[in-house]
Amino acid sequence: MKNFQHIAYRQIYNVLVIIILSLSLPSFAQQNDGKYVIRGFVEDSISHEKLSFASITLIRGGKPVKFSQSKSDGSFAIVTDGVQKGDMLQSTYLGYKKTVVPVVAGRDVVISMTEEDFALKEVVVQGARMVGNDTITVDLTRFANERDNNLKDVLKKLPGVDVAKDGQISYNGKEINRFTVEGLDMTNGRYNMLTENIKAKDVKSAEIIEHDQPIKALQKKTITDNVAMNIVLNDSVRNKYLFTLKPYLLVGNPTHVGGNANVMQIGRKRQVMYDATYNRSGDDVAANLKRFSGISNFRISAASMPQWLTAPQLSAPIDEERLRFNTSQKYAVNLVTQSKSGSESHISASYLRSVTRQTTTNTSIYDLGGTSPVTTNEDKRTKIIDDAFNMEVEHKVNNDKSYGNEHFSINANKSDGLSAFGNDISQRIRIPQVDVEGSLYRIFVLSKSQLSWRSTADYHHSVSDLFVNDDHDRLLTNLWHTAHSLDWMKSSYNFVQSYGASFDVENTNVSKGNNTIINASLSPSWTYKTEAFRIQFSPKMRYERLCRQNSTYYTIAPMVYMSKKLGSRQEMTLLGGYNRSTGGLTLYALSEYRRSYRSWYSNDGIIPVVKDAYANFSYQYRRPIVELFVRAEASYTHLWNNTASDLRIEDGNYYTTLYRQDSESDNLSTQLFLSKGFRSINLKTSLAGSYTLSKGVQYSQGNAIDYRINQYAVTPYICYSPEWCQIAYEGVFSINKSVREATNTSLFNWKQSFSVTSTIRLVDLTFSLVHYRNELQSGNTVNTLLSDAGVVWRLKKVRLSAELRNIFNKKSYAETTYSGVGTLTNSYNLRPRELMLSAQYSF
């Protein structure tokens, strides 16, 4: 019995053990605390290899409730408060398809996962295109696309940045003062040479530096309001020779060929550029050599040669290439090297020859206080031949302890303009001129102060020939000039004091008359500055002696300047002062001379003296990260003159006489500039507005005619440039109001240009329209619609392009402008319809 009982117990024990074991092994186990554990494992569906670190989530009613991760042997366990109908297990694992299996009570859950590649649904984050505070770094690769040919095309797209037709670059409505590539200014301020020859695909970034101080010895001591821009190139093109050939064939009248060749190497220590151009297609070849800034910012300026005659030049109220009939050639070389010690040597030389033809008509109406206005008419055909040679050499040492700059330049120019007025009058103005200039600038950093010394010496020679039919007038001018200045500056804590003394002598010999002018001045200056505020007071004292005229002038010219930073985004400046100056030699050195075939000037010996009080206020706001730039500026000048110009018009001839007459005039100018970029849609917008007021008196034969001219202008601009197209619109709307005595007239003019480019793979198709609407003095309104179309085919190293210009074959353009008491209406002949075929080969 006992044995039976023992066996029975034994059997019961075994059954219990089996039950317990069987309960603990399956996928569901009820724990003592009422919790259940769901167990199982995860494996590869084909190889049955166990998968570790897979995520397993218990889904109940479609919602995740609990989760776990598989262990190294692929097993997992999820503790839950029970199993409900419809419970699912969801497994996710990188490289496998998301798998959902039902939870079956009483069984291990085996999750077999099928391999599947995983890729994120990409959302690419692009950081700001413009970042920084006082130095703004612009990622140019985010603005450039395949359509853009050169750096200028890219810069035009930058919010807050404008590139004018002539190449001038502005930032936040203000012209920049320095433009460098890889830290060096190879062209000495000739922006166009760089922006037109550097390829868009070769640029990496631009740095816009506010309060730029390029002289290292003055950095952190003398703060400027200048703005600089530096371009950084892609590593792949740095130090490499880059060749560009751009031949063209223009089908028109005459059909001809021309082109441009450029070789360039740009590095951080050495930069060189050779450029040659032959052009007859209306391009302004000289614009490529136009200097906007450079060393002239720092050294004493050379004297200006008096311009007795107005050198003939192209008059172009609209895009110059539409009315320039030219044959131009240009050769230029620029070289800059930087030594290991940091000193820079710069050599540049250029030669330009340009023959330009222009046909214009002019009607001028002058309200000179008579019974009726005086009207003159002029039909003019002009041929201008310009020759210009320039060479300059500069050496610069620029480090923390000292600054040195030696500069030498020589210019030889000749401007020769032959004009025919109707059939009876011919006029030739020929002005050859030579300018030689040498200057130096030194800064010595002493223990607690610094001393700077600047000197310049220059010589100029010109011959001004005026031929009118058989008459010949010649003015021979020689000018010697030298100037020297010494400045000492000391800064302690927040105060900076500087004292300068300068001496300047200028001798101009014209028509055997010697005119010597001696200037001496003392320039003390006191500045208080903190990180956010600056105030400067500078009462300049000047002595001026006109030896031939036996006149002496003592002038005190005080100037106050204030600058205040309002946080990191806003800044405002205020400038005010008073000055007195004598007029240029052309106004008093000769008692009488002829200026043109119908214009004479006379002076009874009086020296014009102008006193002016001026004030300027500017405010700027910029937030580069959101591509928002705002600038507002207002300037006011009040002038007191001791002379007046008497204008007399008789038989179509102009007689201007300078005589003693106290007079006053006012000029007020206000500008507003707003620019905003929208990076997500590649959109740039800007809006500029301006208002100017000129108020004064014009004298004529004893009559004093008050005049007031109000000018309002608004310029909206928008450019949308995604990869597949570019749409640009610009409008210039202006209202000019002229009030003279009881006469009140106004002109409402506008220009609207619209262009659209469609990019289809490697081909860009462009169509553009420009509409001018000009009100003329006669009361007529002239509408001029000009149109162009072009196609560009972009290959790896070649860009082939064809452009049909002036599709509607418009022949002329006319507009009316106000000038003092004059109303001038000019008409210009335009280039006819032409087909331009060109290729650009870069390697």
């Binding site: 409730v65 006082d134 952190k220 990180e531």
Partner: protein, 285 residues
């Protein structure tokens, strides 16, 4: 008189922990180590409140990146990297750095590398005061609690919410279970999907996913290992941050400082302001 000081050479040391001598042989005093190949890159907007006494909170913001490799994950401040690149470019060209001219990076200037220097370990790198700190720790995975009745969409992915108590804060995280990556910003990880949004209960720290990229191993995951870093704990990092910049140590390093008007200033007399800070890990306080 209030004198605001401009740090020039200080920036070099603060950013790279380098001495002038070291610079010649080892550019900017760092070893650039390749840790892994990057497979995925997640970009977050990181927001933080430095001064918790302000009301409402004033947030500072930075672009944060999570680079995920086959083994190692790297979470870092991309805004700071960008600024360092600018500084480096200036230094290599031989110029001075004017910090005022750079876009300031005001928060989360640290880096967290997971599974480095070895699996199961992590490395945290931050400059506290004038010390470049390295903190090596075991990886801790938060214990998450899923919140079933929750759903939202973040940059194209359906996300679920989870909650945890971690490092002294209550964290909420939105994860996408369609992305089989158990990672997230900072030390937040271990959910059954990638964390695309995370914030603490007081919303003093916020990470918002804004970008997803498949890098596919085309980029190296690099770590600029600082030569002169000190190995410290999280607690010590907090202490160093409370002390602020050690001017004596900087003077010994040969650092120079200048006043706003460009004059050199005795570094020992300089008393840099200690800015309020709000550490992301509060259990070390």
């Amino acid at each position: 008189m209030k004198r605001k000081c401009l740090l020039l050479m200080l920036a070099v040391i603060a950013t790279f922990g380098a001495s002038a001598q070291t610079t010649q042989t080892m550019p900017l005093g760092v070893d650039s180590l390749a840790l892994d190949k990057i497979n995925y890159r997640i970009t977050y907007t990181g927001k933080a409140v430095n001064d918790t006494t302000t009301s409402p909170y004033v947030y500072t913001q930075a672009e944060m990146r999570l680079d995920i490799g086959s083994k190692v994950c790297n979470f870092y401040n991309q805004s700071n990297v960008r600024m360092q690149e600018q500084v480096k470019a200036v230094l290599l060209s031989g110029g001075d750095i004017d910090l005022r001219k750079l876009e300031p990076v005001k928060c989360m200037k640290w880096q967290y590398i997971k599974n480095y220097p070895k699996e199961g370990k992590s490395l945290y790198n931050e400059i506290a005061g004038s010390t470049n700190c390295l903190c090596e720790e075991n990886i801790e995975v938060p214990e998450w609690q899923l919140i079933p009745d929750s759903t939202t969409s973040i940059i194209g992915y359906e996300c679920r919410l989870a909650k945890t108590e971690f490092k002294g804060r209550t964290w909420y995280a939105w994860y996408a279970d369609d992305i089989p990556l158990n990672e997230g910003p900072w030390k937040l990880c271990g959910l059954p999907g990638l964390i695309l949004r995370a914030y603490d209960a007081q919303r003093q720290y916020i990470f918002d996913g804004i970008g997803l990229e498949n890098i596919k191993g085309k980029e190296e995951m690099k770590f600029a290992y600082p030569h002169r870093a000190e190995k410290v704990s999280q607690k010590e990092i907090i202490k160093l941050k409370k002390i602020g910049i050690d001017t004596a140590a900087l003077a010994a390093e040969g650092a120079k400082i200048y006043t706003s008007d460009g004059k050199p200033m005795d570094i020992k007399k300089w008393k840099p302001k200690v800015h309020p800070f709000n550490p992301i890990e509060r259990d070390t306080l």
